[in-house]
Symmetry: D2
């Protein structure tokens, strides 16, 4: 994994993936972390579909939320964690894809709140199309105690 | 299942569940359909959790989106289907629950767009708390052909 | 003005109106305050219109945001103030009205964040229609010093 | 005004400004139009403020909505008009500015819906800061008759 971030901070971001059952089960993989930026990939299968055979809005929303959380987590430093307050997502095109790639970036990292945006791209036949865009607000939580 | 809706329309709403792999896999169950209203239930398990042991935002978002879709589907009539355009969801409290219940209702059903709201309640120790609230915009799609 | 709220807290909520040039200039009036609830009224005129003669989305958004702010301000106590973090608003019907009435209520008041919803109703020919609905997230700010 | 757009289409976008009382009254000015892009400027004054002396959220929201509407109007062609369905806006920093500049761009222009994003920048002491970001969904309306 390509990153300029220091190893300890990287491991904190990775732990958001390694300890989150729902996104592991979903098949979401972390592919890049930078300061203020995170990228994830998901290979869609039959189990991700809704009634019309398209990828379910909930899959795209989960990608956008979780990838934003990782970008935010990288921005707040070792002593803090983040938790989603709210998000809004637009579905721009039917998501038909061999691979979904989500790019999350921090728009603003404050002491109490971090605001991110996340774009989900559908890759098919070596073309990439923007299929969803989200804005995500996260609250910063101070971690305490020696083990955290 | 309790409903005043006629049987054919009910079966259309149910088919949104029966043919949607992602929500079947998630464990979401349809418990009530009325005109302009839909209710679903999910029993949270370890696989629905994020890194802090709470229910993942993506699970709550999927419930809100899909339940809204069913409420909207019930409102648009037999000749039409609906698809999510966008939604916004707020996470109001940590979702700790024996059972999650989502209530979706139609705020406005137009010819081209339907707007719904969905509330997710956490049931624990016979208490019910509002943990998330969403607003969902859906586009109406005309179905065509004899088989639809 | 009808209210169960104590007078000091009421005066704090009213001050959000009396000191906010933009909403005074807009013509927004505070008509009711309760714990967790606020109601405002605006008489639309030509200056509130957009290019099609309808009331501008920005007028409805300002009503929803400011009324939510007052409902939130009433909920956080004397030692705290609130500021908008974000909001989302849906425009459900064309706003044609003799009078617009906005009802804002608190969905969740936490220590750091308050989440409200606000509904805007168009009153015309003694009928009332829901024309917009918003969800608003506000941050709580501690006030300090004797003069605040 | 700098633009690559043809003159007739430009005049359509300008008419969204020239005929919208609320934004004229607000002081919003159109400074640039391109295909899929629009830029506006507002010089904030005392009348745009809220109770803490900051620019009111409703002013920023109106800028974001209207500028998005112009970007969308430029994208849909001469035979169509647009109307706001919903938007979501985040307030990232206190808006303290000599001048506000809003940049709206089209993320996706479909036959029925256009989705835009709009960023509002505060210019002060020759520095520019992102103070708000919005996502706006608009419906496409077919114009009819020879005069439109």
């Amino acid at each position: 994994m390509n990153s300029n971030m220091d190893e300890l901070q990287q491991s904190r971001v990775r732990s958001i993936f390694d300890n989150a059952n729902f996104v592991i089960d979903l098949g979401l993989r972390l592919t890049q972390i930078e300061d203020d930026y995170c990228e994830t990939v998901l290979i869609p299968g039959d189990r991700h579909r809704q009634q019309h055979g398209l990828i379910h809005a909930g899959v795209l929303a989960t990608m956008a939320d979780h990838t934003s959380g990782c970008a935010a987590r990288g921005a707040v430093g070792l002593e803090s964690d983040v938790i989603s307050v709210e998000f809004k997502i637009n579905f721009l095109r039917p998501a038909i894809a061999d691979r979904l790639r989500c790019r999350g970036r921090v728009l603003r990292a404050g002491k109490m709140l971090v605001v991110c945006e996340a774009e989900v791209f559908a890759e098919k036949d070596s073309e990439e199309k923007l299929v969803s865009k989200a804005m995500v607000t996260l609250a910063v939580k101070q971690l305490s105690g020696p083990s955290s």
